[in-house]
């Protein structure tokens, strides 16, 4: 293993001639978590091999911030499966450079799997490194995108919005925000998901209730 360079691992992925071979080669490349493997891992996202794509996303998240530019420049505008995986990788890395992609994906993408990954990602951007003012602004933009996402037509996206709102809650705490407004909007959004009389999926109400419970907000 130690004798294999990253290039050897990349070559093994490109030369894989079976689904299992691709999966194993991708797992090996992902385990290396080396920035030079990022471009190849992004390619794997478009191969329509679920196991390999899962491994590639794990590898990209392990690489972290050095993978973000590669992902952003290679997002496939046509392959919905690949975009869902790329959005999931950006969501997992949590780098704020991914914000626009996540915001755009939640608001506009026609693939529910892309929108749901984006909703979760908007709740878990790593805002700690930002100065207080841009940090507040970014948290509020995430909040606005998630509040809009409460009206999504797919239950799984509304579910992911509830999760995203719960994850975002610390970033809009009154100690960090300009006032209590953002926190109130976040709680109201969760309450609307919890009490929506037209909700067809009880699991969405239930997940919003769990979020409110965890945030110490009374519901019902």
């Amino acid at each position: 293993m130690t004798t294999l360079s990253v290039q050897d691992l990349v070559d093994a992925v490109r030369q894989a001639d079976s689904a299992l071979g691709l999966l194993q080669a991708t797992q090996a490349l992902a385990a290396a978590a080396h920035p030079d493997g990022a471009a190849c891992l992004v390619e794997v996202l478009g191969f329509n091999n679920t196991g390999a794509a899962v491994a590639a996303v794990d590898g990209l998240i392990a690489i972290g911030e050095p993978a973000v530019d590669t992902i952003l420049t290679n997002i496939d505008g046509y392959n919905y499966g690949a975009r869902a995986w790329a959005v999931r990788a950006l969501a997992g890395i949590g780098d704020v450079r991914g914000f626009e992609v996540l915001e755009d994906a939640l608001g506009k993408d026609i693939g529910p799997s892309v929108r749901r990954a984006a909703a979760r990602g908007l709740g878990q951007l790593r805002l700690e490194g930002l100065e207080p003012e841009p940090r507040r602004a970014m948290a509020e933009r995430c909040l606005t995108a998630l509040v809009d996402g409460c009206r999504d037509g797919e239950w799984v996206v509304r579910y992911a919005v509830a999760v995203g709102l719960e994850l975002l809650a610390p970033a809009v705490h009154p100690d960090l925000a300009a006032d209590v407004g953002p926190q109130r909007r976040l709680h109201e959004a969760l309450q609307s998901l919890h009490c929506n009389p037209t909700e067809e999926a009880p699991v969405v109400s239930l997940r919003a209730a769990l979020a409110l419970q965890r945030l110490g907000v009374s519901h019902g």
């Binding site: 679920t50 799984v156 009880p202 239930l206």
Partner: protein, 290 residues
């Protein structure tokens, strides 16, 4: 299997329309493609308009000779009408006699759609006719029709409907059990699902969990949907670990939350919801798949 969970894509006419427009199109008896789309639309959007069920009942009676030049094939409007009625809940109870008649149709696809709709409507009256359609067992009802990939009866739909309706009398269980040995894994999966719903016996859940390891993705997907439909909580970890799309695992896990008898939430009283620890474990697994 996946019917009722993922709607079939509708070719053409996929434009957004209003409920009024859907009802108008369903009345266009000389335009089957307009009716086809309209029937699908009313089901997809859970129409509660008082005209919807009567118009769909009429559409269910439409029979057309096959016209290879037409965009919509034989009896397709009636099939979509049956599917839509299955999604309309209480108001569609009035259509149960029509669906029971459709269950005796010569058209295999129509019997399949009618069986699924009767299952979705939890129609007790359908248990005996569904049971009779399966009573000849895997060797007759479950035998392949010569020259087609179809079985003599739409076994998967018939089995699933019996499970959905949920009347686990001994004579019903006895007819379903032999299908657990059917040569097709999708039929085995449907039979295990129905038996699990009717009896709660862990051996059927264990067989479904074993199918999550099947080499064919199509079979793993079916087992996921079937475990979700049965709300089999013991399958939580195997579902999360299955090699299949996260979208399907999420649907299956939603089923574990909503169908489980131990913690079925009451949608009309969401304020009463407080998830118990077992339910929280399922929700945590769902969060990890987003």
């Amino acid at each position: 299997m996946v019917a009722g969970v993922a709607d079939q894509p509708i070719p053409g006419n996929g434009d957004p329309i209003s409920e009024e427009e859907a009802l108008r199109r369903l009345r266009l008896s000389d335009d089957p493609s307009a009716q086809y789309y309209a029937a699908w639309w009313l089901g997809r959007n859970r129409s509660s308009h008082p005209d919807a069920v009567p118009l769909l009942q009429e559409a269910l009676r439409l029979r057309r000779p096959r016209d290879p030049g037409a965009g919509v094939e034989e009896n397709a409007v009636a099939r979509n009408a049956a599917r839509a009625l299955g999604k309309l809940g209480a108001p569609a109870q009035a259509s149960i006699p029509d669906l029971l008649a459709t269950l005796q149709d010569d058209d295999h696809g129509l019997r399949e759609a009618a069986a699924r709709a009767l299952g979705e409507l939890r129609a007790s009256e359908a248990v005996e006719p569904l049971r009779q359609r399966l009573a000849s067992g895997p060797a007759v009802a479950g035998a392949q029709q010569p020259g087609t990939p179809r079985l003599q009866e739409p076994c998967e739909a018939l089995l699933e409907a019996l499970g959905e309706i949920g009347e686990g009398r001994q004579e019903v269980v006895a007819v379903i059990e032999p299908f657990v040995q059917h040569e097709r894994p999708l039929i085995r999966s449907a039979a295990c699902r129905a038996l699990l719903q009717l009896t709660g016996d862990a051996r059927w859940g264990d067989q479904l969990v074993a199918l999550l390891q099947h080499p064919q993705l199509q079979v793993r997907r079916a087992a996921l949907m079937d475990l979700g439909a049965a709300g089999w909580r013991q399958a939580l970890e195997p579902i999360a670990a299955t090699l299949a799309e996260n979208s399907l695992k999420l649907i299956a896990l939603r089923g574990l939350v909503e169908q489980s008898s131990s913690a079925a939430p009451e949608p009309t009283a969401p304020s009463a919801l407080t998830p118990d620890p077992a339910t929280v474990a399922v929700l945590d697994a769902m969060d990890a798949l987003l």
